[in-house]
């Protein structure tokens, strides 16, 4: 893939805080136009990676290229085309939402003051915050703050949006709105890089996924390719469980197990028809045969481990 086909790429990206290796040899490849879901448990190095992509933190080793420019050396040329939400919103509490956006717009050396009022109005409108624009930020709810953060990322037409946990603190309605927003932005041609610790948050909107675990990128690719990494499973509803297990064993299904209603196992290279035929020929009463589509969730859990433990 040529360099221009990638909106964002890193090679050997590494960062240590003190003695702890936070990001370890990460090689991201985000194609232009993709909606890239960057997932991993809390503390897996996602935010530090994002900070390096935006030039906030200097990599210890490795390099970042964003929209064709090197970060951090060419940040000034690249970042005006990048909208970002990093580790939650942060604004001046005693300024209104609108005044906060004015300040950020003034901070951008290349923004045109003549159009700032209009652009700020449009950004507020896009996140549904127009009515609350005059309220002080300190009076905002968590969801409103999150929306203002997203509005700040939309002050300019952007080629790339880096959204770190954009649905944090939003109610289900707000979460849906953010999904729609991301889809709209992608439809307008922007590349979207969206991180989450919940696969379910991003699974529906992403074309690509990257999975982080303890500082390492453990899987990356188009969502279809990743799905195929997990074994497709099948489920048989039957009363003749022992017989069924014997037949499956004969077919070479090694992980067939008993369930409440019958048996289940991974399909492997077997054709479903073959399994059903053999079962029936062995006089197993097959009440139902279901091929279970591979769940990304399984892959995610497989890659990142299960449970509530935070990556150390």
């Amino acid at each position: 893939m040529s360099a221009d086909a990638l909106a964002l790429s890193t090679t050997g990206l590494t960062k240590r805080f003190g003695r702890q290796l936070v990001v370890d040899d990460v090689a991201l490849a985000v194609p232009t136009g993709a909606v890239y879901g960057f997932i991993g448990p809390n503390g897996s190095g996602k935010t530090t990676t994002i900070r390096m992509l935006l030039g906030l933190v200097r990599p210890e080793a490795g390099s970042c290229r964003v929209l064709g420019g090197a970060i951090p050396s060419e940040s000034a040329d690249v970042l005006p085309r990048v909208g970002a939400l990093v580790e939650g919103p942060a604004f001046h509490p005693y300024l209104s939402g609108r005044a906060n956006l004015h300040r950020l717009d003034a901070a951008d050396a290349r923004s045109d003051p003549a159009t700032s009022e209009r652009r700020i109005g449009a950004a507020l409108d896009r996140v549904g915050l127009t009515a609350a624009a005059g309220k002080k930020y300190r009076a905002y709810s968590l969801g409103m703050r999150q929306r203002l953060g997203i509005a700040a990322a939309l002050l300019q037409p952007r080629d790339l949006l880096v959204l770190d946990e954009p649905t944090n603190g939003l109610d289900p309605q707000g979460t849906r709105e953010v999904r729609h927003l991301v889809a709209d932005l992608a439809a307008d041609g922007a590349t979207v890089f969206v991180s989450s610790h919940l696969l379910s948050e991003v699974e529906q909107i992403c074309s690509h996924l990257g999975v982080m675990r303890t500082g390492r990128l453990v899987a990356q690719g188009p969502i279809g390719e990743l799905s195929s990494l997990t074994a497709t499973r099948f489920r048989v509803r039957t009363a003749d469980v022992d017989q069924a297990l014997a037949v499956l064993g004969g077919l070479g299904v090694t992980d067939a197990v008993r369930t409440a209603e019958g048996v289940t196992g991974s399909l492997g290279d077997l054709a479903p028809e073959r399994i059903v035929r053999d079962l029936v020929e062995a006089d197993v009463s097959v009440a139902e045969f279901v091929q279970v589509a591979p769940a990304l969730e399984d892959l995610f859990v497989q890659l990142t481990g299960e449970g509530f433990d935070v990556s150390g």
Binding site: L54, V57, S75, L79, H102, D108, A109
Partner: protein, 276 residues
């Protein structure tokens, strides 16, 4: 051209942020109120002892309100003005880092050099506002309590009222330069921490340390190099003609401190990992 306009726009945003903040408005009110208080105290004591024997600045206030402007500067420059500028300077980078707004400024992108320069400029303007407010408070309070007339210079000659006010403005500008230099020390300290209070306290302590060192006779070899050593030289402006040697030397020292610490602040912020 458009870069200059963008720069001014950010400076305007920065100044609105400083001036619009309630805490800073209260602080400015306190600086003003202190002068009013000193004026009232002097008025009361002048009524009790109509013929004060001492011939210093404070005593001169009773005869002419303009001198309260100079007296106000000499009183507040010892602690209150440096404290006020320490609050602003401590907040400059550490305050943004503490709130998390620093990362959004940098992603905007503000440009790290541009941010340091705008913060430094706004602090210098803050120093100017502080000094001018104190001098103004002095003249206004003095006018109300003692009346204003042509002041007598320290050399004994008579000056015009306009000339006296002009010299007071110069004195305020001179002290603003010194405060701005202290602000650059504070700006540098502010890049070292994410705690604005810590940066403020450290800056105020540096200012106080200068005064302490300056008052130790055994360290007289060091005195010319201390930032605050020539701050009180602004009274030389009350001589006729004004005596400028110490003031010019003081401005050079201010400039040297400002240049060194502004550079340090820039070097620090340039490579700083922003993790807040």
């Amino acid at each position: 051209m458009s870069a200059a306009r963008g720069w001014l726009r950010l400076l305007g945003s920065e100044l609105r942020l400083i001036i619009g903040r309630r805490r800073n408005q209260v602080g400015l009110g306190v600086l003003f109120g202190l002068v009013v208080m000193v004026g009232i105290v002097l008025k009361v004591s002048a009524m009790r002892h109509p013929r004060s024997p001492s011939g210093d600045l404070i005593a001169a206030v009773a005869g002419n309100g303009i001198f309260l402007g100079f007296a106000a500067l000499s009183i507040e420059i010892a602690l209150f003005l440096p404290l006020a500028i320490s609050v602003l300077a401590g907040d400059a980078i550490a305050g943004e880092a503490n709130q998390g707004t620093l990362r959004y400024l940098l992603v905007a992108p503000v440009g790290r050099a541009r941010l340091v320069l705008v913060k430094a400029t706004s602090l210098a303007i803050g120093a100017l506002i502080g000094a001018v407010v104190v001098a103004t408070a002095g003249v206004l309070t003095g006018a109300v309590l003692f009346g204003i007339g042509p002041p007598t210079s320290l050399s004994g000659s008579q000056l015009g009222v306009a000339d006296g006010l002009w010299r007071l403005l110069l004195a305020a500008l001179y002290l603003a330069a010194g405060l701005a230099a202290l602000a650059m020390i504070g700006l540098f300290i502010s890049t070292l921490t994410e705690q604005p209070i810590a940066a403020t306290v450290a800056t105020a302590m540096v200012g106080t340390l200068f005064w302490i060192l300056d008052s130790v006779p055994q360290l007289d070899w060091l005195h010319p190099w201390l930032l605050v050593d020539r701050w009180l030289a602004f009274v030389d402006l009350l001589r006729d003609p004004p005596f400028t040697d110490r003031i010019v030397a003081g401005l050079w020292v201010d400039l040297a401190y400002a240049a060194v610490f502004l550079t340090l602040a820039w070097l620090r912020l340039r490579t700083k990992d922003v993790t807040s």
